[in-house]
């Protein structure tokens, strides 16, 4: 492994490491636009110049591999002067429309101008004009005047998705990003070009103009959209709720995890959070009598559910768990089942339309925690359980999250099961056709409203954190189940998600040793 010195500090890096990455290792940030670790080297923006001893003039760091004995200086006078010049070149044809630009606050032109530019503008001539507000596809909109032609988006579509929708057209200062004729930027990962665009050229049609980015808070999280469990940041708007008509989750952004999703997430995941602030959210425990629905207090609902479970023999209770529940929830459920001796359980409900997948990130299993549910021991035949309910062998049928009417099974079977059970309990975040046939509805907090972990298809246990408060009186499933357990006389259930995971880790060998601390930001593998 080559050893080199960067600004006087020695560092050893794997062969092939470029100087931007090598500098990062010693905490030196070399400013750059076109370089992105997930894409090929373009060497176009010319900002990442550094001085290398025995080299006559500053050299781009992105295309220079670290070699043994190299001596690199990133803050010499001529490097700083070159950076200042390149910043001036980047900005002479830029519209400087920051006050109306959605990127303001997270724009690398602004950041680098303040850090490395700070020159007196000399450009007094008419700027080059280019197309503005051009929709490229369902999610992305282009302002070609703000574009600095770093080509990251073009390389993303060429190298990552292989779809090649984008190109750079024309020449010189008339160069502009655009779609090839007849194409639309509609691939399943299109939103990523907004993330990698360092300026306000590509913005998100869903997010833009909602709220200024400096009002956002972020929480580290995991995408619940499929079994991959892409690492994300949840950006929430708590400070200026009126700016987005009450919408709290402003956007999801990928969070780098080399072992799971690298720098990317799919569009389905990125834009799949709307249920959180949807009008169908369940916010109060309620009881249905025919057409009449009455909100009830949690204590009353918990007592009623516990009473129903107590009145039924263990064989007369059936539970349809969900692989959308966190490991903590699943373990709480498992404890309830054991406590009551309940055998009829399962979690796999085949969707009517099979999930799409690809060879990159998207998995056909649209649940984030199927492996977790399996390892916790909730495997069982849901269809058989429903058949039992239809045959009136089940008194209490507790359904978590699923809308069974969206399953691949015939509607008559579902209706028969829901009618056959004496008491149907539904726990979930949003109302659906199934919840509307339940006697008791217990509202669950959405994943961004609570703590928890999912086990992805690789066996990686990954942690998601609370970004906003639960809507209304919704509670995490582990909390609901804990209250029911307590009402049933079980020993005191853990008061926090973290403690539920500890219990799980102590009880199930696959999870042995896992704690929130051990899982960290990058996740940890289950023992297998």
């Amino acid at each position: 492994m080559p050893k080199l010195r960067i600004n006087g500090t020695e560092v050893e890096v794997p062969p092939g490491t470029n100087l931007i990455e090598a500098a990062r290792k010693v905490g030196v940030e070399i400013p750059h636009y076109c370089y992105h670790p997930g894409l090929s080297v373009a060497g176009q923006c010319r900002l990442c110049m550094v001085d290398i001893e025995k080299t006559p003039r500053p050299t781009i760091a992105c295309n220079t591999q670290a070699v043994e004995g190299m001596v690199v200086w990133t803050e010499t006078d001529r490097v700083k002067e070159t950076r200042r010049s390149v910043m001036e070149f980047h900005l002479i044809n830029h519209p400087l429309d920051c006050p109306v630009c959605d990127q303001a606050g997270e724009c690398w032109l602004q950041i680098y101008y303040m850090q490395h530019g700070l020159y007196e503008p000399r450009m007094m001539d008419e700027k080059v004009h280019k197309p503005k507000a051009v929709p490229l596809g369902p999610h992305v909109i282009l302002d070609a005047e703000r574009c600095i032609l770093c080509s990251r988006c073009v390389r993303f579509c060429d190298e990552i998705t292989g779809t090649g929708e984008l190109g750079i057209f024309h020449r010189g200062d008339h160069s502009e990003i655009g779609l090839f004729p007849g194409r639309e930027l509609a691939n399943t990962y299109s939103g990523n070009v907004v993330d990698i665009c360092p300026v306000g050229a590509l913005t998100d049609r869903d997010f833009r103009f909602q709220v200024r980015v400096w009002y956002l808070d972020a929480a580290k999280s995991i995408c619940p959209g499929c079994a991959r469990g892409c690492n994300i940041d949840v950006h929430v708007n708590r400070a200026r709720r009126h700016h987005a008509e009450g919408r709290r989750v402003a956007r999801l952004k990928p969070r780098v995890n080399a072992d799971v999703n690298r720098w990317w997430i799919c569009d389905a995941g990125r834009y799949g959070f709307t249920f959180v602030d949807d009008k169908t959210r369940l916010v109060m425990p309620s009881r249905r009598d025919g057409q009449a629905v009455t909100d009830v207090a949690w204590d009353d609902a918990v007592a009623a559910v516990a009473g129903a479970l107590e009145r039924a023999a263990p064989g007369e209770v059936a539970v349809v768990a969900s692989a959308k529940m966190a490991n903590e929830d699943l373990w709480a459920l498992r404890r309830l089942l054991v406590h009551r001796g309940i055998q009829r359980v399962g979690f796999r409900v085949p969707p009517r339309v099979p999930g799409d997948d690809d060879t990159f990130l998207i998995k056909a299993d649209k649940n984030p925690n199927s492996l977790g549910a399996e390892l916790v021991g909730l495997e069982g035949d849901v269809r058989e359980l429903l058949t039992a309910a239809r045959a009136r062998q089940v008194k209490v049928l507790w359904i978590f999250g699923h809308d069974l009417f969206e399953s691949a099974w015939p509607e008559a079977e579902i209706l028969g099961a829901l009618r056959g059970a004496e008491t149907v309990i539904f726990t979930g975040t949003n109302a659906n056709a199934t919840s509307e046939r339940a006697r008791w509805v217990l509202p669950a907090a959405a994943w961004v409203e609570r703590e928890g972990t999912y086990t992805n298809f690789q066996g990686r246990v990954q942690r998601f954190r609370q970004a906003v408060e639960p809507l209304g009186q919704a509670l995490a499933e582990w909390d609901i189940l804990g209250r029911v357990l307590q009402a049933l006389g079980a020993e005191a259930p853990p008061p926090r998600a973290e403690r539920w995971l500890r219990e799980l880790a102590d009880a199930v060998p696959a999870f042995a040793g896992l704690t929130y601390q051990a899982i960290g930001d990058a996740g940890a593998m289950v023992a297998r």
Partner: protein, 408 residues
């Protein structure tokens, strides 16, 4: 001082482009000779001849050939740069039209030296007749069995972009991509066209190779200076009485080229300035033309031999207008890849245009000089450095003429 004509010796014949005429004057004998030589011996001969690239950069040709990795086992490509686009340069056009078989024979020899089985000839899009003539010669060479037995030639036409004459821009274009120069390293000799080791040589450079093989390196070297052998074809244009192409030793002086070969200065008859090596070369004043035209002679004079496109300006020529035209060219032809070049070529053109139109600002000249110096050497390819040559030299050498146009 005119000396022996080598490349242009057959230009007087109306049928010089045909195989029969080429054979009559000793064509393809060098190829016969080369087939008995070891590849390394051919490269060594070319090294000893002091042949330097005649497309613009003046890099020693034999040295370039020796860059091909010795242990490489896949294909090696020989690419001929016939994208002659440097303003003021029109020599390769004549070679393609009038001596196409010299290029083919030179390619056969060069291909043997670098162990290439495929050659590409990238012909400038606007060169229709040269392309026709050269393609016909390629067909003749196939029919006669020179090509197709271990070496094939593919003729590829460009689409009219100056940047495709830059060797890696040419390779990108040849590969079917936008003609953007590539970041180096890797250099083409290591990873060039289609990812394979590639030698890119200019038309005129390769046309010299058969003569070097036939008559020896020492003979070729003796025609020029200590560091550059041979003759080259000078394209002389602008205010001279006899504009055209002139083959002469690289050791000829600029003054002799203008006065003795090109018939002297036209216009008002008094020389103001000369651009000696295509538009990217720094301009020389009337009193700076006693220089030899070889690569090092012109480098020492603060300019460059470039493509040997000599543009002569008499006293009636406006230097600010000339700079505006040059600046417009570079703004139009910048590929747009690197930020300094993309943004500042257009900016500098706007400033020169304002000055010529009488709307210059007091700071414009210093801004142009500063911008040009800051951008120089910061880009992927040499295009911007080529633009900086005129930006700086026109203003530094004729500043008063610019200042006179700027309102007080």
């Amino acid at each position: 001082m005119t000396g022996e004509k080598i490349l242009t010796r057959n230009f007087g014949r109306a049928d010089s482009h045909t195989l029969s005429a080429y054979l009559e004057t000793g064509g393809y004998t060098a190829w016969q000779k080369a087939q008995a030589m070891e590849p390394a011996a051919i490269t060594e001969e070319v090294k000893q001849s002091n042949l330097r690239g005649l497309g613009g950069a003046g890099f020693p040709t034999g040295t370039k050939w020796a860059f091909i990795p010795k242990n490489h086992t896949g294909p090696v490509y020989l690419v001929i740069n016939a994208d002659e686009g440097e303003p003021g340069t029109f020599k390769d056009r004549y070679l393609l039209e009038r001596e196409p078989h010299a290029l083919i024979e030179g390619m056969l020899v060069a291909a043997r030296a670098v162990r290439s089985a495929t050659g590409f000839v990238y012909v400038r899009g606007e060169y229709v007749e040269p392309w026709r003539r050269f393609s016909a010669a390629v067909r003749e060479a196939y029919d006669a069995g020179y090509l197709g037995h271990g070496f094939d030639v593919v003729v590829h036409r460009g689409a009219g972009a100056y940047i495709c004459g830059e060797e890696t821009g040419l390779i990108s274009s040849l590969e079917g991509k936008k003609g953007w120069p590539k970041v180096k390293p890797p250099f083409p000799a290591i990873k060039g066209a289609f990812g394979m080791p590639t030698i890119v040589n200019n038309v005129e450079t390769i046309c010299h190779v058969p003569h070097i093989v036939n008559r020896g390196a020492a003979w070729f070297a003796s025609l020029g200076t200590k560091t550059q052998g041979g003759t080259r074809i000078f394209s002389v244009s602008g205010r001279v009485r006899k504009p055209g192409i002139y083959e002469a030793s690289v050791a000829i002086t600029l003054r002799a080229l203008i006065d003795d070969l090109a018939g002297g200065v036209a216009g008002n008859g008094r020389l103001k300035a000369v651009v000696p090596g295509g538009s990217s070369a720094a301009i020389l004043r009337f009193d700076e033309i006693d220089v030899t035209m070889d690569v090092d002679g012109l480098r020492n004079a603060g300019t460059m031999a470039g493509s040997a496109g000599v543009i002569v300006m008499d006293e009636t020529v406006s230097i600010p207008e000339a700079l505006m035209v040059v600046a417009r060219f570079y703004a139009h032809e910048s590929c747009g890849q690197c930020t300094p070049c993309r943004e500042s070529t257009g900016w500098i053109y706007q400033m020169t245009k304002r000055i010529v139109e009488g709307r210059g600002r007091k700071d414009d000249l210093d801004t142009i000089l500063d911008v040009a110096r800051r951008g120089a050497g910061t880009t992927i390819c040499a295009f911007y450095d080529g633009a900086v040559g005129p930006y700086i030299s026109y203003i530094e050498k004729f500043r008063a003429e610019f200042e006179a146009l700027i309102p007080k």
